[in-house]
């Protein structure tokens, strides 16, 4: 029975640790993609200098703004020409049809909807001086929801597994209390203190949780170093992302190990406490 409890804790905490690494990596990838998302605000040609300046100051003052760049009509044309060098399209351009714009980089791209709304008045029209607002909606939206979904699923699985581990350790302790009920009865009769009765069971629960977490750390170490690390190296090569759990510069794995150890001990203790409260009235 103790063996089952230890195994369950080991599997549970292994999955917890595994998800922690995956979620950390996905977030690293996300944040590097997100930081490239821009909101572009096209200005009307006839916008006054004061209004333009006013809007720029406004944008700078928002806490979501990472940086803002003013792209004038001339600069826009220059960039357009550069992008389409040698193309026929340039010959058809007369004068400068391109609008000036503010290119805004957000520090928290999930707020992109909120920021966009500020360029509308309450009737749903653009505010004065603004012609249009665009951003890469099609790419950005699914990315956000994928992170959210993975996070939620991982969270639910982890909770379910933690509960299973608690129930199993609780059961082990319950059985061992049952096996020693006569002894406990005599202990209480001759005046053993409550802690004297409790401590062996608390220790047993703690040991089961702790042993389980040690096994899961060993599993995580090997899976991490021989399996996940290959994926991470590929991501680093392709996407130039530095903040990953195993190959990154931070001690992420150390935190995962410590977290697993603490969680294991706590699960064990908690289960024993519940079992003692229910089955030993001391």
């Amino acid at each position: 029975m103790g063996f089952t409890a230890i195994t369950t804790v080991a599997i549970t905490l292994f999955i917890v640790g595994f998800f922690a690494i995956i979620v950390y990596d996905i977030q690293g990838i996300m944040s590097s993609i997100k930081s490239q998302v821009e909101l572009r605000v096209y200005l009307k040609d006839e916008i006054s200098e004061e209004l333009k300046e006013y809007i720029e100051q406004e944008i700078i003052s928002w806490e979501e703004t990472e940086s803002v760049e003013y792209v004038s009509k001339d600069l826009a044309l220059e960039r357009f020409k550069k992008q389409n060098e040698g193309s026929d399209i340039l010959k058809e351009i007369e004068g400068n049809p391109l609008p000036a714009s503010f290119d805004i980089t957000l520090n928290n791209p999930e707020k992109i909807d909120q920021v966009e709304l500020r360029f509308y008045d309450k009737d749903g029209n653009f505010i004065e001086g603004v012609d249009d607002v665009i951003y890469e909606r099609k790419v950005v939206k699914p990315l956000f929801s994928i992170t959210a979904i993975i996070g939620t699923i991982a969270f639910l699985i982890i909770i379910a597994l933690l509960l299973a581990a608690i129930v199993l350790i609780f059961n082990t302790i319950r059985l061992s209390i049952y096996a020693r009920r006569k002894e406990i009865e005599v202990m209480k009769l001759v005046g053993a203190t409550n802690w004297f009765v409790r401590i062996p069971f608390l220790f047993e629960g703690f040991f089961e949780g702790f042993a389980g977490s040690i096994i899961s750390i060993i599993l995580l170490y090997f899976i991490g170093n021989f399996l996940l690390i290959k994926g991470e190296r590929a991501i680093v090569d392709i996407m130039r992302i530095k903040e990953l759990a195993i190959v990154g510069s931070g001690n992420v794995m150390l935190y995962v190990y410590v977290g697993v150890l603490v969680l294991g001990g706590l699960i064990g203790l908690l289960s024993s406490v519940i079992a003692l409260r229910r089955y030993v009235k001391v």
Binding site: K182, E185, V186, M187, L189, V190, G191, T193, N194, F196
Partner: protein
């Protein structure tokens, strides 16, 4: 000096059974007292109240002058170290020898091992089981098991010894042996309270008898007999 004193003690269980009704009783230090009465008359409740296994509904209990009714639960073990308990079913641990069973009572209250080595053989001599200290409970007769149980209750030298039907499972000859041991313990100055419905024992001992009926004391007699 009163060792045990009940003042207006009542006990009503959760299912509204009235186990004890307004009990007033004083037991002096060194006294030997029989608590008699039919099953369900409140004898066991009386004993459980003394070791705080259950709480009274009303009234106060004083042990050596101290009110135990508002005792914090963390102080209950201290109380129980001063009260030895013997039961009809012995409550011995089957996987421990006689010596270990008695030593267990000292171990769990944190007595040092040299003290255990002295005290356990001493008390086993007192109950006449010194020769069997390495036997297991199942190798002993019923009377011998009860003597181990008495040794365990007394090894800590508590000032009070409670015995709940200690001869309930024993034949008359064996019971007599148990009573001799309890008398000896009483002679050393221990207050002994024994709940029983063993008529012959009560009649032969001629000690104080308190009779309970439906939770009330209906008789309190010095050098009494079992009654009709």
């Amino acid at each position: 000096m009163n060792m045990i004193e009940f003042k207006n003690i009542s006990k009503i269980y959760e299912d509204n059974t009235v186990a004890l009704k307004n009990i007033n009783l004083a037991i002096r230090k060194g006294e030997f007292l029989f608590l008699v009465g039919p099953s369900g008359s409140g004898k066991s409740t009386f004993i459980k109240l003394l070791i705080k296994e259950i709480d009274e509904s009303n009234g106060n209990i004083y042990i050596a002058g101290r009110n135990i009714c508002n005792l914090k639960s963390s102080r209950i073990p201290q109380l129980r170290r001063n009260i030895g308990c013997v039961f009809q079913d012995y409550k011995l641990l089957p996987n421990k020898t006689v010596f270990e069973n008695v030593a267990f009572a000292l171990e769990v209250i944190g007595r040092p091992s040299y003290e255990i080595k002295i005290r356990v053989p001493q008390v086993l001599k007192l109950v006449g089981l010194y020769s069997k200290l390495n036997s297991y409970p199942h190798q002993l007769s019923a009377g011998e098991q009860q003597r181990v149980s008495i040794a365990r209750a007394f090894v800590n030298r508590p000032p009070i010894l409670l015995a709940d039907e200690p001869t309930g499972n024993l034949d008359p000859g064996t019971s007599e042996g148990i009573m001799k041991i309890l008398s000896r313990i009483n002679l050393i100055g221990t207050t002994v309270l024994m709940a029983t419905h063993d008529r012959n024992i009560v009649n032969s001992m001629r000690r104080r008898v308190v009779e309970l009926e439906e939770g009330e004391i209906i008789r309190d007699q010095k050098r009494g007999v079992y009654g009709d």
